[in-house]
């Protein structure tokens, strides 16, 4: 087990009706609020009205920034920073999924950042000085409600980059707010959750048992509850389990004590999103089984991790270890397909034209050469091609 630091200051209010804590959570920081949200689904579901009632009754001064994109863009960050400075905002309230929360983290940090905001996204740093952030989660996927990171896109530069900005001070996680999430995004969200686990689970470290148990628990819960949530969108236990695992999956906890793996599927998916603006979880679902088959073939010494995955997560058994490993991967691909996720890039209208450039950027600085199984540019191109 390697050394690690656990330092997550976020308070989570989890469960039905936890919005009752919203007033006190904001008021601890001030009364001038920037309210951020996405495309307006919160207006259809009534959550926007509920939030505004609380803010108005509490006498909060609200500035709104709606329309934050599914892959949030640097222009939204810039606009949010401008509004915060202009209105003297004291606390940001993000109502939405990972995109809205990610963008809000970058805004919170951007208020204090001196220099160009895209440079803040690109440069290396840890958590930054930031405005306090409170969020109300409406999608179980990215785990942004319980980590300090955010992913921001720059479509002009065809770049989508993750960085550390700030942790939410408070996250209100009410599973019933996800009842209205359509099947496609429910499935993509689960694929995102599962990918956060895969990225750390496939590591050389063999003796970090608690992390591995948590990882396997997250995966088995996703596999159990995603089909239920798709079948019965207002099944509380299904939505609650998906929401609880979303928070832990991306928190770093399932990787404690383990060798860093440099998250190869995320690196590759960010290229897909940057070039084609596709749904992040869908890109991950398409890439993951192909990446698994590629590395298992390239480096048979990682077989033990795949057989463990097949046994512990899928409950499979086979005396032929290689066949067992492959069955585990096949199960995963079938699981995503049965959840309604388009499982090829062709279905999304994506061809080979940018694969070379995408592979080069995914592997910038040779960082994927340090992955669980090292990947060079040719490996990455091959994985992209296997996704067609």
């Amino acid at each position: 087990m390697l050394n690690f630091i656990h330092d997550i200051p976020t308070r989570l209010y989890f469960g039905r009706g936890q919005i009752a804590h919203l007033d006190e959570a904001l008021r601890a920081f001030g009364t001038r609020v920037l309210l951020t949200y996405g495309g307006g689904s919160i207006k259809k579901t009534g959550l926007y009205g509920e939030v505004m009632d609380i803010l108005n009754k509490g006498g909060f001064a609200v500035t709104e920034l709606g329309g934050i994109e599914p892959n949030p863009r640097i222009e939204s960050v810039e606009e949010g920073v401008r509004l915060c400075k202009e209105r003297g905002v004291e606390v940001i309230l993000a109502v939405g999924g990972g995109s809205t929360i990610d963008c809000s983290k970058a805004i919170a940090a951007g208020v204090f950042y001196e220099g160009d905001l895209w440079q803040m996204v690109e440069s290396e740093h840890g958590a930054l000085k930031a405005l306090p952030l409170v969020d109300i989660l409406t999608l179980s996927a990215t785990g942004s409600e319980f980590d300090g990171g955010g992913v921001i896109s720059n479509l002009k530069l065809r770049k989508k980059l993750g960085n550390m900005f700030t942790y939410p001070a408070v996250s209100i996680c009410d599973p019933s707010y996800t009842f209205s999430v359509p099947a496609y995004h429910t499935a993509a969200g689960a694929a995102d959750i599962m990918s956060h686990i895969f990225e750390g689970y496939f590591s050389r470290t063999e003796d970090s048992d608690l992390s591995d148990s948590i990882a396997e628990g997250v995966l088995t819960a996703a596999i159990k509850y995603l089909p239920i949530a798709l079948q019965e969108p207002d099944h509380y236990a299904a939505r609650a389990n998906l929401m609880a695992i979303s928070s832990v999956a991306c928190s770093g906890i399932p990787e404690y004590g383990k060798q860093p793996t440099f998250w190869p599927c995320h690196a590759m998916e960010h290229e897909l999103s940057a070039y084609y603006d596709i749904t992040h979880g869908v890109g991950l679902a398409i890439l993951t089984p192909r990446w698994m088959r590629h590395i298992l073939k390239k480096d048979p010494s990682c077989l033990w991790r795949f057989t463990r995955f097949a046994r512990k997560v899928w409950g499979l058994e086979n005396d032929d270890e290689l066949a067992l490993a492959q069955e585990g991967i096949d199960q995963l691909e079938n699981f995503y397909r049965e959840a309604g996720i388009p499982m090829t890039l062709s279905e999304l209208g994506i061809g080979t034209e940018h694969f070379k450039a995408m592979a080069a950027h995914a592997n910038r600085g040779g960082r994927l050469e340090k992955a669980f199984v090292p990947l060079n540019n040719e490996d990455i191109e091959e994985i992209f091609r296997a996704c067609l």
Copy 2:
């Protein structure tokens, strides 16, 4: 899944050499330090010298409170509070196991508490205003390094009571500091860790999958690594896994979303410790299998939890579900016995003389009537007798 709040502000530095963070961790709060420790084992191991070197080099003004008892007493709390007030202490540094950390939490809160300190231990309250607390953990057991609670004894009143005081600001968890822990206390510590899981695992809630996975992960890690640590005391991975699970086991996390169970074995064990000053983990190891057999007999509707325990934790299988459940409990009792824990009260010289009064106090206010399987005073006496 029931509602829950996650709010653990403690920063954990986990792993070898993390004492390198001690100076900065203390300095964030001040330079006048109360250093607390137990019976002096840290002087034998050299950790005391290492800590004092850092404190002296850093120019900290140190007041010492050594000799904190294994079941820390109210008199030590009173003495600590007196020293803090007299010396204007700004931060407490606890070096030791759960007893030292528990006592230090009560001291930290006691500094600001108006009124009698035993009343602070007895009265109902949440986290209190407190001096900041930094700890260096030397025993994997109570999880006090990652929760806000403490247990304080009043031998005059024959009372041992747990309460919420304050969370450590920083916990330095270096598994190599536990290499020197003798076999008896290593085993007792593991029994304490496992009991923290059992107390929440045996609950009526069926749909809190992540919590249950974490619980099962903690138990399987304890079962795997305790025998290794006993065989080879300086086996890093074994000590590291035991330390990591100790922190999570008592954090509340394995109970998130689950019905409260009122921790019956801890309630019963506190009576044993209050009357006989025995090692907490040993009392828990003796009580737990007897409690399990008693409730399984009293309420067969809880069979499903025991069969899950037998399957998931021990890897057992048996078509006869009742036999399977009993095998799981037998395995647990054998596991403790093989770890060298005396598994009867008679071996500790404890007889029946106080069982009636102990049962009545364990069940004060009828609180164990609300446990997973409700226990009345007669049930508790019967469990004590089964331990003889």
